[in-house]
C-alpha cells in the first residue's frame, strides 16, 4: 500500500502511523456535553467502501494527512494535509 503524501510523493505505508477516522478533526466545544464528546471520541461508522481517515507521515514530513480511500477495493483516491483543511472535515 502506498499513500500519496502531498509533500513527499507516493510513499510506502510503513512510513505512516494510522490514527483513525477523520471524525477526529471535528473537536466539539469544551462545553458541548457528554453526548457530542462521546460521539467524537468513540462512535464510528465502519464503511464498506469510501472512507476518509487520518495518517501521520511519521517517517517523512511529520504531517497529518486526511486520506481518501476505499476499504473494499483498497484504492487510494488522494490525500490532503490536515493543516490545510483549517480544522474541519468537509
Amino acid at each position: 500500500m502506498r499513500i500519496p503524501c502531498p509533500l513527499c510523493g507516493p510513499r510506502d505505508r510503513r512510513e505512516f502511523t494510522y490514527y483513525g477516522s477523520d471524525d477526529y478533526l471535528n473537536r466539539p466545544a469544551p462545553d458541548a456535553g457528554a453526548g457530542p464528546w462521546d460521539d467524537h471520541l468513540h462512535l464510528r461508522a465502519n464503511p464498506a467502501g469510501e472512507t476518509h481517515d487520518l495518517w501521520y507521515h511519521e517517517a517523512g514530513c511529520a504531517q497529518w494527512l486526511r486520506v481518501h480511500r476505499n476499504t473494499v477495493s483498497h484504492e487510494i483516491y488522494g490525500a490532503a494535509l490536515v493543516a490545510g483543511l483549517k480544522g474541519g472535515a468537509q
Binding site: 500500500m1 502511523t17 478533526l25 469544551p30 501521520y56 497529518w64 490536515v82 480544522g87
Partner: protein, 973 residues
C-alpha cells in the same frame, strides 16, 4: 541419458554433486533433476502418504515429486525442487520422506494399507480413545508424515531484503515477456524483467521452435543482449514474483546464491518488494497431468518436461518413450524425440478424430488403464478405438492440456473465468490494478500469438505511462492453433493420482463428494488436495473436474481454482532478512554508553535505548548491594546519571505559550523566562498521556521534556493538535532529543560538583530555574530540577560533548564521595519520593487518580479536559495512587493485587494493584506505589497483598505516596 549435440548446458564445464551420498556428474546449466535423469536415476523421492517411489514429473518450480533436501555446512533446506536447484561443484543433496533407503523405504508398507488410508482417514481413525491422541497417535503420525526435515539449528545463512521501483514490471521472460520488455525498453521506460528460471527464454529454450528463422534460443540471446545493454532495464533471472499487493507492489524472491557454493558475503536469497506503475504478467502456462490408473510411477512425466529435458538439457528421459495426450502439443515432442534418435513406442491420442499421420504408431481414442514397474515404468496397458494395447515403455510423456499461470491475478480477489475453448480458466481482466496478463498466461498458446500479445500490451502500458512507443518489428513465429479435447480422468481398477505430492487420488475426491463435501473448499480440506508445496498447481484443475463429474455439475458451476500468495514457497529467512538477533530492532546508545560499559555496568533496554542498570564496585556481590550504595551516595553526597533518553522538544513562535496551554492541563503562558514548570498532558479521552518539565528559554522559546517511553507519542500528539486545531497559530517545534546530552547531578554536593566543571560558579539559581552556563567555552543549559528528591540539577550539552562531560563529572564526583548511578538506584530514589513513571501513568489513570486533579486549570480549555470531568472518572470508586510500606526483605511484588483484610481473594474483591516497588534503606522498609480504591481516604489502613504468580501473601500499610522529604526542603536547599 545424454543425447549428443542437444541442449543448452555447458558441456565444457563438468560439475559433480552428490545425491543420497553418491556422486553424480552434470554440467553447468543442469538442474539436479536433469543431471539425475541423465544418470538414469528414476526414483528421486517418496510420496507423502503411501511412500510410493516417485520420479521427476516436471521441469519447473511446480514439481510435486522431486523434492529434496539441500545440505550445506550451515543450512539444511528441505523441500527444494530438484527441477529448480542448479548443480554446482560440491552440492550435497538427499532424498526425503523415507525411513531407511530411498529404494527400500520401510514405510512403503503404507502403500499396502492404502485401502485404509482414504480421504479423512486421520479424522475418522485416530479419534478414539481420546487420551491416545496426544501421547500415541500424534507423535507417530508426525514422525511418519511431513516432507523433509529441519536441522533443528539456526539457519546461519545470509539473506537480504531489497526494494525496487520501475515503470513496468514484466513477469516472465518467455516470448511474451521478452517482446514486451523490448518494446517498453526501446521507448525509454524503466523496465524490470523478472524470470523464475536461471536462464531467460521460457518455452523458447525447450520447444524447438524458430523465431524469425533462427532457433528460439538464438533469438532469445539477441533480445537479452540488447536488453542488457540498455541502462533503463534490470534483468532479474532466478527471481520468482510471488505475490501481487495493493498499490502496484509485488513481492519477489530472488535465488541469489543457491546455485553456488556458500560464501559468507553471498546472500542465499533476497526478498524484493518491487513497486511498479504497470505490470505485465507473462508467466506462461503449466501443463496438466491426466489421472489414469497407476499414473504415478517413475518415468511418467509431463510431455513438455520431456521436451525440456531433451532440447534444453540434452537428456532423453527414457529409451523408449510413449506419449499420451489430449491435444496436438505432444506431437511436437514426439517429433523432437525421434529426430534426436530416441525411440517412440507410440502416440496415444485420447481424441478419436485427431490425425494419425506420424513416423510412429498413433492410437486414437486411446485410454491407459494400467501401468506396471515398481521402481520405474515398464509397461502400460489400455484400449483405443481399434482395440486393446500393451506397450513396453520406460517413459510416458503425458499432456492433459495447459493451464494459464494466472495465480497473481487471484492475489487481490480476482476470480478466473472458464474458457470452454481452452478447457481452462483464464485470468479475469483488471483483477490486479495496473497488471495485465498476456500470452500463454492469458490463454494464448502459440508463439506467434504470444509475441503479438506481448507487443500489444507493452504498447498499451507505454500509453498509460505517457511514453511514445519506439519501433519493434514483430518477428515471425509458429501460429498453429491449439486444439484440446478435455480428458481429466480415466476409469480403471487402480488408483489414479490427482495430487502426487499429497497422495490424493480420484477415489478420494469422489469419496469426499459422496460424504457431502461437494464444495471445492470442503473437498480440498477433506482430502488435502492442493495443500502440498506445489499448492495444487498440478492438481487443482483435475480435482475440480473430477468433483464436477462426481456431483453432476459443470466445471464452472462447481467452483473455481483460486490462488493466494505466495506463488512459490518463500523462506521465512528471506522475508525476515536482517531481523534476527540484534537486527530485530534499532539500538540507541547514549553518549555515556562506552564510559558506562567501561565501568562494568550491565546495560538494560529502555525502549530502543540501552541504559546502565548499576555500576558495580569490586566486592559487590549482587545488584542490590550496588544499588543501595548508589542511593546512599546520592542522598549523602552526589550522583551523576545520564538522562538523555528523555524526549526533548524545542518549541518556538509567538503562539508557543498559547499552544502549551492547550496541550498541558496547567498554564504555561504565565511561566517566567528562565523558569521550569512540571506539566501534565492528557489524551483527548481524559486519561494521562505523559508528564515532564518544560523550560521557558525565551519569551517565545520553550523546551519540553517527555518521558523516554512516550517521546514519539507526544511528538505525534503535538503535531496532531497543532495541525488539526490550530494550524494557523505561529508555533513550530522539532525533536532535539539526539541533539543534547543531558545529565542529572543530584545530591547535597551537587552544586559543588557543578562548580567544579563550570567556567563560572552557579550563582542565584533557585529550584525550577533554568539558564545558559559556560563549560570549557561551550554553552550548556542548566536546569534546577530533580527526580531524586535531593537538591538536583540537570545539565545539557551538545551531544558531541556528552561523553567527555560524563567522564569528567563522574571523575570529579568520585573525589567528593560520589559517582555514577544507574536505573536501579534511579528507581529507588523516585519511589522514595513518590514520583511517577509510566508504570503509574499506564494509560488507564486520570489526573484525579494520581492526585493531580488540581493541575487541570479551571481557567482555560485543554486537550482532555472535557472528558476528564466525566462523573465516573472522579470519585471514591476510582483507584487512587497510594504509597505502601511493606516489611523489609519482601521480594518485588509489582503487579500484585490488593485486598481488604478479611475479604475473599477474588477478582471482584480486588481493591487495586501495585505498580512500582523498591527496597528502601532510607525508610527501613520496602516501598510500593500502587492504585487502591478510594485510596487517599485509606492512609493508615493495613492492606493485604496477594500475588498468585510469585506465591506471595503479605500485608502493607497504606500511606501517602511521598515517603521522603514531604515538604520538599531538600529539593529547594
Amino acid at each position: 541419458m545424454r543425447v549428443a549435440g542437444k541442449g543448452l548446458i555447458e558441456r565444457e564445464k563438468p560439475v559433480s554433486f552428490t545425491f543420497d551420498g553418491r556422486t553424480y556428474a552434470g554440467f553447468k546449466g543442469d538442474t539436479v533433476a536433469s543431471a539425475l535423469l541423465a544418470a538414469r536415476v528414476r526414483v528421486v523421492g517418496r510420496s507423502f502418504k503411501y511412500h510410493r517411489p516417485r520420479g521427476v514429473l516436471t521441469a519447473g518450480s511446480e514439481e510435486p515429486n522431486a523434492l529434496i533436501e539441500v545440505v550445506g555446512a550451515k543450512n539444511q533446506t528441505p523441500n527444494v525442487r530438484a527441477t529448480v536447484q542448479e548443480v554446482f561443484e560440491g552440492l550435497v543433496t538427499r532424498s526425503q520422506n523415507r525411513m531407511g533407503s530411498l529404494r527400500w523405504d520401510l514405510l512403503a508398507v503404507n502403500d499396502l494399507m492404502a485401502p485404509f488410508f482414504s480421504a479423512g482417514f486421520y479424522y475418522k481413525t485416530f479419534m478414539w480413545p481420546r487420551a491416545f491422541w496426544e501421547k500415541v497417535y500424534e507423535p507417530a503420525i508426525r514422525r511418519a508424515a511431513g516432507l523433509g526435515s529441519l536441522s533443528g539449528r539456526h539457519d546461519e545463512g545470509h539473506y537480504e531484503k531489497a526494494f525496487a521501483f520501475c515503470d513496468l514490471l514484466v513477469i516472465g521472460a518467455g516470448p511474451t515477456g521478452l517482446i514486451a520488455a523490448l518494446t517498453a525498453a526501446r521507448a525509454g521506460a524503466d523496465v524490470i524483467l523478472a524470470d523464475e528460471d536461471s536462464r531467460m527464454g521460457g518455452r523458447l529454450l525447450s520447444n524447438g521452435e524458430t523465431v524469425d528463422g533462427q532457433p528460439g534460443p538464438d533469438w532469445v540471446a539477441a533480445v537479452l543482449a540488447e536488453l542488457s545493454s540498455l541502462p533503463n532495464v534490470r534483468l532479474m533471472p532466478r527471481t520468482t514474483v510471488s505475490g501481487a499487493y495493493d498499490g502496484g507492489i509485488y513481492g519477489a524472491l530472488e535465488r541469489v546464491g543457491l546455485h553456488k557454493p556458500a560464501r559468507p558475503d553471498l546472500p542465499r536469497e533476497a526478498f524484493w518488494r518491487i513497486t511498479a506503475r504497470r505490470a505485465i504478467l507473462a508467466s506462461g502456462a503449466l501443463e496438466r497431468p491426466i489421472a489414469f490408473p497407476m499414473n504415478d510411477r517413475p518415468g511418467i512425466m509431463m510431455a513438455g518436461a520431456v521436451q525440456s529435458y531433451l532440447n534444453r538439457y540434452g537428456v532423453a528421459s527414457g529409451k523408449r518413450v510413449t506419449l499420451f495426450a489430449n491435444n496436438d502439443g505432444a506431437r511436437a515432442v514426439a517429433r523432437d524425440l525421434m529426430a534426436a534418435g530416441v525411440q517412440v513406442a507410440a502416440i496415444l491420442d485420447s481424441r478419436a478424430n485427431a490425425s494419425a499421420v506420424e513416423n510412429c504408431p498413433v492410437y486414437l481414442g486411446a485410454r491407459i488403464t494400467d501401468t506396471s514397474g515398481r521402481h520405474g515404468l515398464r509397461l502400460i496397458e489400455g484400449h483405443h478405438a481399434g482395440g486393446a494395447f500393451k506397450l513396453e515403455t520406460d517413459c510416458l510423456a503425458m499432456s492433459g492440456g495447459w493451464n494459464p499461470t494466472l495465480h497473481l491475478t487471484c492475489h487481490m480477489g480476482g476470480r478466473p473465468r472458464w474458457s470452454e475453448e481452452l478447457a481452462a480458466f483464464v485470468p479475469m481482466e483488471g483483477a490486479v490494478p495496473g497488471l495485465v496478463a498476456a500470452g500463454a498466461a492469458n490463454g494464448t498458446f502459440t508463439t506467434h500469438g504470444c509475441l503479438a500479445a506481448g507487443h500489444a500490451v507493452a504498447e498499451a502500458a507505454l500509453a498509460d505511462l505517457g511514453l511514445s512507443p519506439a519501433k519493434v518489428a514483430l518477428p515471425r513465429a509458429e501460429g498453429l492453433p491449439y486444439v484440446v479435447e478435455p480428458l481429466w480422468a480415466v476409469e480403471g481398477k487402480g488408483r489414479a493420482w490427482l495430487d502426487f505430492a499429497n497422495d490424493v487420488t480420484t477415489k478420494d475426491v469422489k469419496l469426499a463428494a459422496q460424504e457431502g463435501y461437494a464444495s471445492v473448499e470442503h473437498m480440498k480440506r477433506y482430502t488435502t488436495q492442493g495443500m502440498a508445496p506445489d499448492q495444487g498447481k498440478n492438481s487443482n484443475m483435475g480435482a475440480l473436474a473430477v468433483l464436477a463429474d462426481a456431483t453432476g455439475r459443470a466445471i464452472p458451476e462447481t467452483g473455481i481454482t483460486t490462488f493466494r500468495p505466495p506463488y512459490v514457497p518463500v523462506s521465512v529467512a528471506a522475508l525476515g532478512a536482517g531481523g534476527r538477533g540484534m537486527g530485530f530492532a534499532p539500538q540507541r546508545f547514549l553518549t555515556s554508553d562506552q564510559a558506562s560499559r567501561d565501568r562494568g555496568a550491565p546495560m538494560i533496554e529502555a525502549g530502543l535505548w540501552y541504559r546502565p542498570s548499576y555500576f558495580p564496585k569490586p566486592g559487590e556481590a549482587t545488584w542490590r548491594v550496588s544499588c543501595d550504595r548508589e542511593v546512599a551516595m546520592v542522598r549523602g553526597a552526589v550522583g551523576v546519571a545520564d538522562v538523555s533518553t528523555l524526549g526533548k522538544i524545542d518549541i518556538q513562535g509567538r503562539d508557543a505559550a498559547r499552544f502549551l496551554d492547550l496541550v498541558y492541563t496547567n498554564t504555561f503562558s504565565t511561566l517566567p523566562v528562565g523558569r521550569v514548570r512540571y506539566g501534565l498532558m492528557l489524551r483527548e479521552d481524559g486519561f494521562v498521556m505523559d508528564d515532564g518539565t518544560t523550560a521557558r528559554l525565551g519569551e517565545n522559546h520553550f523546551l519540553m521534556t517527555t518521558t523516554t517511553a512516550a517521546a514519539g507519542q507526544v511528538m505525534r500528539h503535538l503535531d496532531f493538535v497543532h495541525q488539526t486545531h490550530c494550524a494557523d497559530w505561529d508555533v513550530r517545534f522539532i525533536s532535539v532529543t539526539e541533539a543534547w546530552a543531558q545529565f542529572a547531578v543530584a545530591g547535597p554536593k551537587s552544586r559543588a560538583l557543578l562548580n567544579a566543571v563550570l567556567d563560572q560558579p552557579v550563582q542565584d539559581f533557585p529550584f525550577m530555574a533554568c539558564g545558559a552556563v559556560q563549560l570549557g567555552g561551550v554553552t550548556a543549559r542548566l536546569f534546577r530540577i530533580s527526580f531524586s528528591g535531593e537538591q538536583g540539577y540537570e545539565i545539557a550539552v551538545p551531544t558531541r560533548y556528552g561523553e567527555s562531560l560524563f567522564r569528567d563529572l563522574v571523575a570529579k564526583a568520585e573525589t567528593m564521595g560520589g559517582g555514577p548511578y544507574g536505573m536501579e538506584a534511579l528507581n529507588v530514589l523516585r519511589v522514595e519520593k513518590g514520583f511517577i513513571t509510566h508504570a503509574e501513568i499506564h494509560g488507564r489513570t486520570t489526573a484525579f487518580d494520581i492526585g493531580m486533579e488540581k493541575m487541570v486549570s479551571p481557567k482555560k480549555d485543554c486537550i482532555g479536559k472535557a472528558m476528564a470531568a466525566r462523573p465516573a472518572l472522579v470519585g471514591p470508586e476510582r483507584q487512587q495512587l497510594v504509597g505502601l510500606k511493606i516489611a523489609t526483605g519482601t521480594p518485588p511484588c509489582s503487579g500484585a493485587h490488593l485486598f481488604t483484610v478479611g475479604d475473599k481473594v477474588g477478582r471482584e474483591e480486588s481493591q487495586g494493584y501495585i505498580t512500582s516497588f523498591a527496597h528502601s534503606d532510607l525508610m527501613g522498609a520496602c516501598l510500593g506505589l500502587g492504585f487502591l480504591k478510594n485510596g487517599r481516604a485509606r492512609h493508615g489502613e493495613i492492606i493485604r497483598i496477594v500475588d498468585h504468580l510469585r506465591g506471595l501473601d503479605l500485608t502493607a500499610e497504606v500511606c501517602d505516596p511521598v515517603f521522603h522529604d514531604k515538604d520538599g526542603e531538600k529539593l529547594r536547599a
